[in-house]
Every structure is written in C-alpha cells, then in structure tokens.
C-alpha cells in the first residue's frame, strides 16, 4: 500500500533511527543529518499523503471559499474584488426567501417524522430477545440501497395515476389517489417520507448501540422503587440516551438544511419552486446558470449557510451542555 513511500527510508540504516529518536527530545539538534536520523524525515514521509490531499482538497478550498465570496469570478475573465456585492445580490434574490422557507419546511417535517421514529423503533427492537440481528438487518436495508436508486424507485412508487404503487395501497384502504410529487402541496411531504425511510435505519443502529450501553442496574433500581414500564423508559432509558439524542438532533438539522439529492432528483425544485431548497439554489447559481457560473454568489450563499449552522450548533451546544453532562 505504501510501497511508493518505502524505498528511501528502508535504504537508511534502521538501527540509527530507532536509537536516535530519544536523545532528540532532550537536546535540540538543528542540522539536517541528525534531523533525518531523529525521524524527522520519516515523520514527514508518513504525513505527506495527508498533508497533500488536505492542503489541496480541504484546507485550500475552505480558505478559497472565503476569498471567492468577495470576488466576481466566472473563470473566463480575471477575478475582481467586489466587496459585499455577492452577499447583497444573494440576499436580494426573491428565490432566496422561497428556498429558506422550503428548507425550513423540509427540516421541520423531517424532524417531526424522522427524529422520534428511529428512537421508538430502536427501543422496541432492543426488547426483542431472539433474532435481533435479523431485525437490525431489515431496518438497515434501506440505507444499503444507493440513494439515487432509492429516489428513482420511489418516483415510480409516487406515480400519481390510480394504478401507481402507493395509490393502489391507499386505494385498498379506501383512500382516493394522491398527486404526490405533482402538486406543490404534497411534493415536499412526499420527499420527506422517502428521506425518512432512507435514513431511519442508520439512526436505529446508532440508538441500538447506545441502548446496549444503558447499565441494567439502573432498571433494577427503578423497579425496586416501584417504577412501571413507561416510567422506566421515561426516567431511565431516555435520560441515558440524552447524549446521543442531543448529537443526533443537531446532526439531523445540519444534514437536512443541506438537502440536495432528493429535491434535485424528485422534482428539480418544482412544482412552482415548492421544493427549491437552499442547496438547490446554490447549485443553480454555480452550475445551471445560462449567464455562466455565478461562483461568487454561490460561495457567498454557502458561506452564509455555514455560518448560520455554525452559530446554531454553538448555541445548541452551549444550551444543552448543562443537561448532557452528568
């Protein structure tokens, strides 16, 4: 695996390296030969892959995004510094309000449906005595299906004709066919249902792992105090999970506010921009722009979203700090 890195150092006498590492810590030697013998070179060789990929593909672009948000750049003409113009332009865009409302709507619906469901399922599943592996495998199955395949398959399920898969199921309960993705009223809830189905398995496995960590003595103690099943869940299970619950909640908010794949593939932001999310708007600025990529506006909006999420997470952790530590 690291064959490319190996030869230069294997050629060196190994014994010297091993012995020389310790003295190096006591007296600081500055000349290159002892730096190599002290392990300085091999340290760098091991760090090189990380330093290169992070510098080029992570740290660099992060810095660049801040710079670019203050520039007008379309890759053809040289970049010009324009101050806060990009931010002003983005804030004046009438679509931004729609995108924010839609994203909040998606995040809110996903929270109401998608957050409690895996907790309930995990608590129930953890009470299963035999075949827990089968239950977990079944629950995790939707996570294994590639998201693109899942969305395309659900597009077929959401067929608005009376013979569509879901409409047939609803029909068997006597419910009239729904327009699903075709109407601006039902499009977003439809997307949320699919997203919840796709993500629940991952959360269930995480909660199951956390439930294993609940000390059984706590339940024994609660029983001695006369607690019933519901009080045990309320006073033992949930408080014991609160660390995981707090983290999962904010991670879900961060993830859902950056939703892209589902609205992009299901509806492309339609009908009538009813599913246009912030990330879709960023994508449109940068990559679906007939006037050439508005990279400055796109990065400005990304940066504003990131800063908002940063402040939100910070406030959230300050707020929950007191409750999450024992």
């Amino acid at each position: 695996m690291t064959m490319t890195d190996d030869p230069p150092a294997l050629a060196e006498p190994m014994r010297d390296e091993g012995v020389a590492r310790h003295p190096q810590k006591r007296k600081r030697v500055r000349n290159p030969a002892s730096w190599v013998r002290g392990g300085g070179l091999s340290n760098l060789i091991f760090l090189a892959p990380m330093l290169i990929v992070f510098a080029v593909f992570s740290w660099g672009p992060i810095v660049q995004s801040v710079v670019m948000s203050f520039q007008k750049t379309n890759l053809v003409t040289p970049a010009v510094f324009v101050g806060f113009d990009n931010f002003a332009k983005v804030l004046a865009d009438p679509n931004l309000g729609t995108a924010i409302v839609n994203t909040l709507y998606f995040a809110g619906l996903a929270l109401v449906f998608g957050f409690p469901l895996p907790i309930i399922l995990a608590v129930l599943m953890s009470e299963v005595k035999r075949g827990k592996g089968l239950y977990s495998a079944l629950a995790y199955m939707p996570v294994v299906i590639p998201p693109v395949v899942a969305v395309l398959l659900w597009t077929v399920f959401y067929d608005a004709s009376p013979n569509g898969v879901f409409n047939v199921i609803l029909g068997s309960f006597g419910i009239p066919p729904q327009p699903w993705l075709q109407s601006s009223a039902t499009a977003m809830p439809s997307i949320v249902i699919e997203a919840t189905w796709a993500a629940a398995g991952g959360s269930i496995i995480i909660y199951l792992a956390a439930l294993i960590g609940v000390p059984p003595e706590l339940y024994d103690a609660a029983e001695v105090d006369g607690a019933g099943i519901w009080r045990k869940i309320w006073h033992v299970t949930l408080p014991q999970l609160r660390g995981v619950l707090f983290i999962m909640l904010i991670l879900q908010v961060i993830a859902t506010s950056q939703v892209f794949l589902e609205p992009y593939l299901f509806t492309g932001g339609g009908p009538n921009n009813a599913t246009l999310t912030i990330l879709l708007l960023i994508y449109r600025y940068a990559f679906q722009n007939s006037l050439g990529g508005a990279y400055g506006e796109a990065t400005a909006l990304s940066l504003m979203l990131a800063i908002f999420l940063g402040i939100l997470s910070f406030a959230y952790f300050k707020l929950t700090e007191r409750w999450s530590t024992n």
Partner: protein, 326 residues
C-alpha cells in the same frame, strides 16, 4: 461538539473494537444478541399476561413493518425488473400476469451500457477506498505513534474540517479540480477528481488515530529495540493489528463512493467515465420503464450482496459512527 468527540470516543472504541481482537468468531456472533443482559422489561414484566400479549403483538407489528419497509421495495424492484412495462403500470402488485420478461436485464446491461457504468462505479469505489485507507493509516500512524512535536497542531487542523459543512467546499473544490495547483491540467473527467477529494476525510483519520492511540505502546518499543525502523513498525506491526478499524474505514469508503451523486455529477461530465448514480437519472427519460427498473435492480445488487455478506461489519460500523458522534 468537540468536547463530545474527545470524551465519547476512546471508551466506545475500546468497547466495540477490543472483542474483535481477542474473542473467537463463534463467540462474537452470540455477543450481538446477548450484549444487553436486560432492557426496559424485566423477567417479571415479561411474565405478566398483559405485557406478554402486548409484546407479542408489538413483535408481530414490528417484524411485519420492518419486512414491508426494509425488504418490500427491494422485492418489488426485483419483480418489476423482469416484468413488462404495461403490467407494471396497470397492476403494480400482480405477479407476472403476462409472463416474465428476462430480456429486460440483458437489454439494460448491453443496450443502456449498464456494464460500462457498473465498471466505472467499481473503479471509483476501489480507488476512493485505496486513497482513503492510505491517507488514514499513514496519517493516523504519524499523529498517534510517531507523534512529532507539531502533531497536535496538525491534528487540530484536521479535526477542524469536520465542523465545516460540505456545502462550503462545493464550488471552490470544483474550481480546484478545473485548475489544480502545480499539475496545471484540469482533472475534469478523470477518476482522480473523485478519488483524491474523497481521501481528505477527517472522520477516517479520527477513527484510525483513536484506534492507534489504544494499541499497546510496549509492542512498538520492543520492535524499536529489536532494530525495526518506523516503516517496518508501520508495515509489519501496526497495519496487521489494525484490521478491525481498517474494515470499518473500508465499509465507510466503499459505501460513500457507491452513494455519491453530486460530486461525480460535477467533475465527470463525460458519460464514458460516469458511475451508475450519475448515469441512471440521465438515462431515465430515454429508457422504457421495464428496462429502467432492470437497470435499477442491477445497480442495487452489489451493495445489497456486500451488506448481506459483511452484515456484522456494516452494522458495527454504523453503530460506531454513532459512538464517535455521541
């Protein structure tokens, strides 16, 4: 969140990883079911008639629900893949009223060139896996075991990228691919454009470093006294000991590569190098429904088979993701 990360990880890692290293296979299987000695319900609770009936009902509902939600869509897709379009549209739940159409599968494979996109997906997944493992192990080794004086600074810089939402990177990273530093020529339409950014993954480095931190130091000291240099220690001691964590990183890497949509969509505009996830939505409009569903089914096979074969590794990894998050 930083507090949570540092506080949660070491204990959880050791809890989840250690048994892997010492306990034999047969025992491990049991432990999945038996880890929780008891949950909310006590033995006494389970014997109460009301609880007994409710729990049996809950089991049935849970199992049916999980089968419908977890297995249902996959089974329907498998059925629809070999069903003529008209049958799927008119009677989505009928089992082959007009016979099975096996030709869908071969049409999808040959005429829509699913074979080519399948190969591209595998190349992307394997390359991303290789570079992620290379970067994570070398960096983890350097930061945890070699530990030069500047290691904490680098570690901080890597961890910091965990708090940057992915959306910030989108546009500047895309421009980096168009105009990479030093090389000069665009990486657009090359697999490098997917492999290398995937390798800049702070989460992997965090996982591997935490694992290395928990390895017994004495082994490395002994090897050093026996004259092994840092490369020998890495290759012959650290890597063989880190198989459990490499399994976890591999699962994350391959799944992420198989799922990724937006990034390959941006940097691989040429259909000849596109993976399934990008190609499937593109061919949807020009493909007949039955053949398209066959293509979806083919794209799902590998992830599902991988999951069924490496089920425990998948579920352990998913739980571990939560352990690090929580």
């Amino acid at each position: 969140m930083e507090h949570q990360l540092t506080a949660g990880v070491p204990t959880d890692l050791s809890r989840i990883e250690r048994p892997q290293m010492s306990v034999k296979k047969s025992k491990r299987r049991e432990s999945l079911d038996d880890l929780a000695d008891r949950g909310v319900l006590s033995g006494f609770d389970r014997k109460r008639p009301g609880v007994k009936i409710t729990m049996s009902a809950v089991h049935v509902v849970l199992l049916v629900g999980l089968v419908v939600a977890g297995l249902g869509p996959i089974l329907w897709l498998a059925k629809a893949a070999v069903t003529p379009t008209q049958d799927t549209l008119r009677q989505p739940f009928a089992l082959w009223p007009h016979g099975i159409d096996w030709a869908n599968l071969s049409t999808a494979w040959n005429d829509i060139h699913i074979d080519q996109y399948f190969l591209n997906t595998i190349i992307i997944a394997l390359g991303s896996w290789f570079f992620q493992v290379l970067v994570a192990t070398t960096a983890g080794y350097a930061l945890s075991i070699l530990r030069p004086k500047y290691a904490p600074i680098l570690n901080g810089l890597v961890l910091a990228t965990l708090f940057i939402p992915a959306v910030v990177l989108l546009v500047p990273l895309y421009l980096t691919i168009l105009h990479p530093p030093i090389i000069g020529t665009s990486m657009l339409n090359t697999f490098w454009a997917v492999w290398l950014p995937a390798a800049a993954n702070a989460f992997n480095i965090l996982l591997v470093k935490r694992f290395f931190d928990n390895l017994p130091r004495e082994v490395f000291e002994a090897a050093k006294t026996d004259g092994a240099g840092p490369f020998r220690v890495f290759w012959s001691i650290v890597l063989p000991m880190s198989r459990p964590i490499l399994g976890v990183v591999s699962v994350f890497a391959i799944i992420a590569a198989w799922k990724d949509f937006l990034w390959p969509l941006l940097v691989l505009p040429d259909p000849a190098v596109q993976p399934l996830s990008v190609r499937l939505p593109a061919v949807q409009s020009q493909t007949e429904l039955d053949v398209f569903l066959a293509a979806l089914a083919i794209s799902t096979i590998i992830p599902v088979v991988l999951f069924l074969v490496f089920q425990r590794l998948f579920l352990r990894s998913a739980g571990l993701g939560g352990a690090v998050k929580g």
